[in-house]
């Protein structure tokens, strides 16, 4: 990419440097120099170490860990590049923060996902690239283009290459909300599809899980977009085993794995939990052998390359780059 090396710059925030390095390596350039630090009064400070004047800038920052710190850091980086006369700034946010606060589901509930969208725009982002938004409607919160990439092609690839008995398996959605996502994967693999319905007697308390579909004697593959505290996944795995599933895998786009998630997974009947690296989880992998990773950096790198060159990104919605 020597012909474009003069007009593309990739910066990494501090949330997920590993992923940024993988992306930059695939594109064939070095990460641009930036230093992010926190002053003793806890304010974030950003110093951009090279000229970005009239450059096409990509800033990779995931919404994980200390979410607010990372978000502020991203905003300050965008703003710094903006005031330093970058031609175009693309925020690459593998895991969009506050994605679940996307509707006014209670009186006076904040729509924080919309606030984040406004903040990114105000800071000066011209374009956003993200992966598997919790609700694709979040794209409508923006007045700038948003490319919502899908993990689906990478997940399909993983299933075909890593689950030997995949032809005798069944795709299961752990809740009604994710049915579409799971059904789409089942269609692509020509597999059967089952759904787990959560009965809630009280809010936030799943009292019973009802399985719709037949899983007996099959390998069940749970598909979801987020694994946070993993309570749902654990219950779903138990339900599936009770109904005769031989093995239960879970493949999830964003492995937030907060709170006691690791204990819950270790304790569960899951064969393995497969997550993408939109969020760093190497430390968690070290204490939980059930976790496996799908590398999403080829998709991000290709999206960046295509965006930079003005090519169509649609290809990536159905294909995982080799």
């Amino acid at each position: 990419m020597s012909s474009t090396s003069n007009s593309i710059k990739i910066f990494s925030g501090s949330s997920h440097v590993e992923l940024a390095k993988l992306v930059a390596k695939r594109i064939g350039i070095d990460l641009s120099k930036v230093v992010v630090l926190k002053y003793s009064n806890q304010e974030t400070s950003v110093t951009i170490g090279e000229s970005v004047r009239d450059e096409d800038v990509f800033i990779i920052q995931s919404g994980c860990g200390e979410i607010n710190d990372n978000l502020m850091e991203l905003l300050i980086m965008i703003n710094a590049c903006k005031t330093a006369s970058a031609r175009r700034i693309t925020a690459v946010i593998p895991c969009y923060p506050y994605a679940r606060q996307d509707k006014k589901d209670k009186s006076r509930a904040p729509i924080s996902a919309k606030l984040v969208a406004n903040m990114l725009t105000v800071a000066g982002a011209n374009h956003v690239i993200t992966v598997d938004l919790h609700a694709s409607q979040i794209q409508g919160f923006f007045n700038i283009p948003v490319d919502n990439l899908y993990c689906e092609p990478s997940m399909l690839k993983y299933i075909k290459t890593h689950i030997s008995e995949w032809q005798n398996s069944i795709i299961v959605s752990p809740d009604a909300g994710g049915a579409k996502r799971a059904a789409s994967i089942a269609d692509r693999l020509n597999l059967e599809f089952a759904l787990i319905h959560k009965e809630r007697k009280k809010a936030n308390e799943v009292s019973r899980m009802v399985l719709v579909g037949d899983v007996s004697g099959k390998t069940a593959i749970l598909i979801d977009d987020m694994a946070d505290t993993c309570g749902t996944l654990k219950m779903a795995a138990t339900t599936l085993k009770e109904r005769g599933a031989s093995k239960v895998y879970a493949i999830v786009a964003h492995g937030i794995l907060s709170g006691k998630a690791i204990d819950v997974i270790n304790d569960s009947q899951l064969e393995s939990l497969v997550v993408t690296n939109t969020i760093p989880h190497d430390d968690k992998k070290a204490i939980c052998s059930k976790i496996d990773t799908i590398d999403i950096s080829p998709t991000l790198a290709e999206a960046i390359r295509r965006t930079h060159n003005g090519e169509s990104v649609s290809f990536l919605f159905s294909h995982a780059p080799e």
Partner: protein
């Protein structure tokens, strides 16, 4: 007071309670927490429809968390049909825009240890942002490029671009939906210009004057000292009002060999006098403790510092304890309970009455100017 709802953010609930009780209203019920994935959760349990909403949140502690909480609260009130949302920010975050001292050839002055940036992580140096510049691209940068490569580039004339977040913070607060800002003693008065909405910048000065009159015996013979040239205006204003003498400490960066080493110079006479240092922010309290050293070397009898925002981060308290300074008086724009417990030299004056009066006046559509001078009102 009708049609008013006051919410306190989690940064400084005491101050919010004091302000509310002075206004004779109950604080609005709000639940502030964090989800297990560290996203901020705001639940407002009070109707704000067509109400005049005030949200009190200081820029202290975990600044980014508190700022985000404020933004979400503003946004939640706005979409819940509040008539007007005012952000009350006693200590404004990101108010200091770091100045970068450069050498004449455009090279950055190195100020931090070279090994600090080998890893690409947060770093928490115990120095103040103002006038401090870290050499971010030390021996090895994040990407493992060698220093020689970078210095060639620097020689090429590129100045490292340090983000100045002032306008960004102003825009974020505006885009969240705030209609009005109330704050106090902004570090740069120009900051007001970053906003497209009205900003009432209250002054700590009348409270400081009141404190000096009431607590410093024989204050007419004392000297007001500004610890740096930037704060001279603030300090002279107080000296003028109280007809006191004035002195200034000036930082010199003359040495070409060690350009980062500063010489401090005192301009004015302080021998055998009580010195009152005036400043707006004490963060690491490096400035005031250094100033106190100069003053005591120049024969000051007693040294007292009066400061609006006592952020006291890093080892600030330790510095004050070991310093020649006799007393540090700060406002409660930032929670001070912990600081007071750790250091007997610390004292506090309350800004709650001033903010309460400002809120009352703004709510009733009265002038706020009177607060800038007439302290008898409160």
């Amino acid at each position: 007071m009708r049609n008013i709802v006051i919410f306190g953010g989690s940064s400084h609930t005491e101050l919010a309670e004091q302000i509310a009780s002075r206004l004779n209203v109950q604080l609005g019920r709000v639940k502030l927490s964090k989800f297990s994935n560290k996203e901020t959760n705001v639940e407002i349990h009070e109707s704000v429809r067509e109400k005049d909403v005030y949200i009190i949140q200081s820029g202290c502690g975990h600044v980014n968390d508190n700022l985000m909480e404020l933004l979400i609260m503003i946004s939640a009130c706005k979409i819940a049909s509040a008539a007007k949302v005012t952000a009350v920010i006693p200590c404004f975050p990101y108010a200091r825009q770091p100045d970068a001292p450069y050498k004449k050839n455009g090279e950055l002055l190195p100020r931090i240890p070279k090994d600090a940036f080998i890893g690409y992580t947060y770093n928490t140096p115990d120095s103040t942002p103002a006038n401090e510049v870290k050499n971010p691209f030390g021996e090895q940068s994040a990407n493992g490029t060698s220093s020689s490569e970078i210095s060639t580039r620097s020689a090429g004339g590129y100045k490292h671009w340090i983000a100045r977040s002032g306008t960004l913070i102003a825009n974020l607060i505006t885009c969240a939906g705030a209609d009005h800002i109330i704050t106090m003693d902004l570090h740069d008065p120009q900051f007001q210009g970053f906003f497209d909405i009205p900003v009432d910048n209250l002054y700590g000065q009348p409270l400081m004057i009141k404190y000096i009159k009431e607590n410093i015996p024989n204050y007419q013979n004392a000297v007001i000292v500004s610890p740096d040239a930037g704060g001279a205006k603030r300090a002279t204003a107080i000296a003028d009002k109280l007809h006191m003498d004035f002195a200034l400490i000036h930082k010199e960066r003359r040495s070409q060999i060690k350009p980062h080493k500063t010489d401090m110079m005192l301009v004015g006479e302080v021998r055998d006098k009580v010195c009152v240092l005036i400043d707006d922010i004490a963060d690491t309290s490096d400035t005031i403790t250094k100033a106190a050293k100069i003053l005591s070397e120049s024969g000051a009898k007693k040294i007292c510092a009066i400061i609006t925002h006592g952020i006291m981060s890093g080892d600030a308290i330790q510095r004050i304890v070991t310093s020649e300074i006799d007393q540090v008086i700060v406002s409660d724009s930032v929670p001070q309970v912990d600081h007071l417990a750790q250091c007997s030299k610390m004292g506090v004056f309350s800004i709650a009455p001033m903010f309460a009066e400002a809120i009352r006046r703004i709510h009733n559509g009265e002038s706020v100017s009177a607060l800038f001078s007439l302290m008898d009102l409160i």
